[in-house]
Symmetry: C2
Subunit: 224 residues, 2 copies
Amino acid sequence: MERSVSTGDTPRGRQRLSRERVLDAAVGIADAGGIGALTIRSLAQELGAKPMSVYYHVAGKEAILDGIVDVVFSEIDLPSPGGDWRSELRRRAASARQVLRRHRWAIGLMESRTTPGPATLRHHDAVIATLRAAGFSLEMTAHAYALIDSYTYGFALQEAGLPFEGPDTVAPVADSIMEQFPAGDYPHLVEMATGYYFKTSYDFADEFDFGLNLILDALSNSLS
Amino acid sequence: MERSVSTGDTPRGRQRLSRERVLDAAVGIADAGGIGALTIRSLAQELGAKPMSVYYHVAGKEAILDGIVDVVFSEIDLPSPGGDWRSELRRRAASARQVLRRHRWAIGLMESRTTPGPATLRHHDAVIATLRAAGFSLEMTAHAYALIDSYTYGFALQEAGLPFEGPDTVAPVADSIMEQFPAGDYPHLVEMATGYYFKTSYDFADEFDFGLNLILDALSNSLS
DNA sequence: TAGCAGTTTCGTACAAAGTACGATACGGTC
DNA sequence: GACCGTATCGTACTTTGTACGAAACTGCTA
């Protein structure tokens, strides 16, 4: 699946519109400028069309939001119910995290979208299938499913909310935060920052594997 | 002219405005009608004031959003670094989940707010303090912290996204979803639904403890 | 008491955004 | 060409955030 944002002045396409083209352009705009940059007008411009033309292909802005969330889900690798369940779930979790990193805005939308699209449902179906194939009971599948997804989305949520990204970008941001507040108000936060985050060129992204492995290990124990 | 009435069933207050009163009213509106209902005008009306009056107390809508996220954090019970760390963290996680249930809209905002307020920082400080007091190393504290929070927020995120709430409300929603899509497209989802969710008057909320206990147990093992 | 200097509230007005409504252009079939 | 479903668009109305400056209010001093 490929998508490219037109970088400059030239609108992207001039062919016929379609629901798919509209949603792809919407994703591109949100990626480039945040969900706030996605307006019917910017969308139309990106498509080389006029605002009202968009409405022929989608019911309204709400439908666009539902649509692009489903597009995001469609980009996540599905686990295969056949293989080793732990590595399959690890792969799909890693994929989910990467996808949600590309499309930060998606996490914020999940909370408000209550009508899942086909890709979303297919995705959930595949995860459940993998757990069932691994031998989990219905009850344990429900437990494991909620647990793994909570962790994955929650991690992505936190990652999206971080004002920095990657190692070595932590310090300046932390400095500016600390300057704002009375010294000594958050001693343990400061201890973590100075004693660990700064010292080791910390990358929050690395935390993901630790938690996921812990969870999968614990679930694995409950299997036997 | 305006009289300060006793009934108080209409606009909420008539006293002087303040940042705090503005933020409280904003939270109330978002709780009642979703974040979309929160406009400067609705806010002013709730406060018994005119739109532009609000701007004296907050810099703009973005500042309001930052502010109400911090209000939400301020409502979460802090763990005490002294006591039994597992029950302390369980208590604060349960509190966080409840708070985020009261203020569903907050989760969606977290993704976009990158300037934490004082309550948010104090909250993080307390969690870190509790982990450190429990004997975790700096490194393990970072791991545990990311893990627990990811789970907690992720769970709340999923809960907020569910189109139903509580037991016995699952079925009708699931029905309408299933009707929309070709039969047999999501066999495992259907199996879970018919074989488990429907059968046991399933309440997603109960999943929370399972995952949290699993995580705390696993972390506990790593202590000794 | 009158006057004055903050402090707080508000009236007016404009730009950006979603979209209802109906007209227009297009593309194929008879 | 006449006709018809599909796709695009022009116009215009409503809702929202907020800039700008005036008005009202508060407490204080002369």
